[in-house]
Symmetry: C2
Subunit: 217 residues, 2 copies
């Protein structure tokens, strides 16, 4: 479940795939940016073969778009497409919140709280890269609480694809603290064990998040 096929594993191609995914999620490679096989091979110090495989896999997951014989670009979206993607993501996250509220174990709850404590700490320190990682761990722990690896996969796939747009939300330390604070409100609802309140709370959280994404893109 965790790390699926994209985690750094034995093959060179898998390592490159994971590293590119991280760069895209962090906004270091922006939406619409073109990815040059030859240059990436030079960057990673390998031949084009594992680079091509990594790019091909990212395209199969929707993170990249393949222009036939025109190279690969980071998937780019119109505002309408962005809205539709976030609508789908909202529904999936609401489903996650509802199932998490229904199935919360002590272990899952402690993981979520640990991740949220890390979010709070890095937000206060103004540590953006640290906050991005902690935010990621927070959401993944929520998905994990659904106790369904396939729903986990869908939700985490959406996080990967929307990474470049969500990274832009956090322009100032104030943004990080606001985000961590909204996590607290969301958790209060999930921990209430009322799955409908949890789902509604997640929709609110996601709507607020999406408004910030639209403003930043």
């Amino acid at each position: 479940m965790d790390g699926k096929d994209a985690s750094p594993r034995g093959s060179t191609a898998q390592r490159i795939e994971a590293e590119l995914l991280e760069d895209i999620a962090a906004g270091q490679i922006e939406a619409g940016a073109r990815l040059d096989e030859t240059k990436l091979a030079a960057r990673f110090g390998v031949s084009r073969t594992p680079v091509r495989e990594a790019l091909s896999r990212l395209a199969a997951q929707g993170v990249l778009e393949s222009g036939d014989r025109r190279g690969m670009r980071v998937a780019q979206y119109t505002r309408e497409e962005l809205a539709q993607m976030f609508e789908a993501m909202h529904e999936i996250e609401a489903l996650c919140a509802r199932l998490a509220a229904q199935r919360l174990t002590l272990l899952a709850r402690s993981e979520i709280e640990a991740a949220q404590a890390e979010c709070t700490r890095t937000a206060r320190d103004g540590d953006l890269p640290g906050y991005l990682r902690a935010n990621e761990a927070f959401h993944l722990s929520l998905y994990r609480a659904t106790e369904n690896p396939y729903i986990f996969d869908i939700a985490s796939d959406f996080r990967r694809r929307t990474g470049p747009f969500r990274a832009k939300k956090f322009a100032a330390t104030g943004d990080l603290i606001a985000s961590a604070q909204s996590h607290e409100e969301l958790l209060a609802k999930i921990f209430s064990a009322d799955s409908n309140i949890a789902a509604e709370g997640m929709r609110e959280h996601m709507t607020a998040s999406f408004m910030r994404v639209l403003a930043a893109n």
Copy 2:
């Protein structure tokens, strides 16, 4: 939206990917079966390179599982994993039914009815390959009615992954006719424009379908 990256397109790798997907969905390559690069290259009359790319992409989409340096296998699931996958699929299909009921256009409705008519015709003729294609078109037209390409993608991805298991439901002409009949009941609910009735009807449809999948696997 339709055909996404898997439709037969310019490159050899994409054609091979689509063809393998079709074989897996139709049960001609069964769950757990090992896929040999060298043999597939001979089958398609090409070098290993486009075959490797096609396999890699199918692995990225969860259709195949990659054993590190141990080749690829069609993803195989325990009964628990199958149950979880179908749970996720049920929730996605219920979401589709709810959104389709809310957003149904005349065009979408006519497409759904045309697909259902084809299901009924091929079921009566005992035409299994034809029924599989018509059934596919029926479900895709429902997903399309959500007017959200990302939800469409999730739902159709699940159909791809569960193809090998669902194909086994249809062992006799009676199975085809029963399936087409349950479509009618589902459509009555979707066309009722009550999105909650639509979602519930889809869950019923999917639960009945899943019971048949479990019995056949």
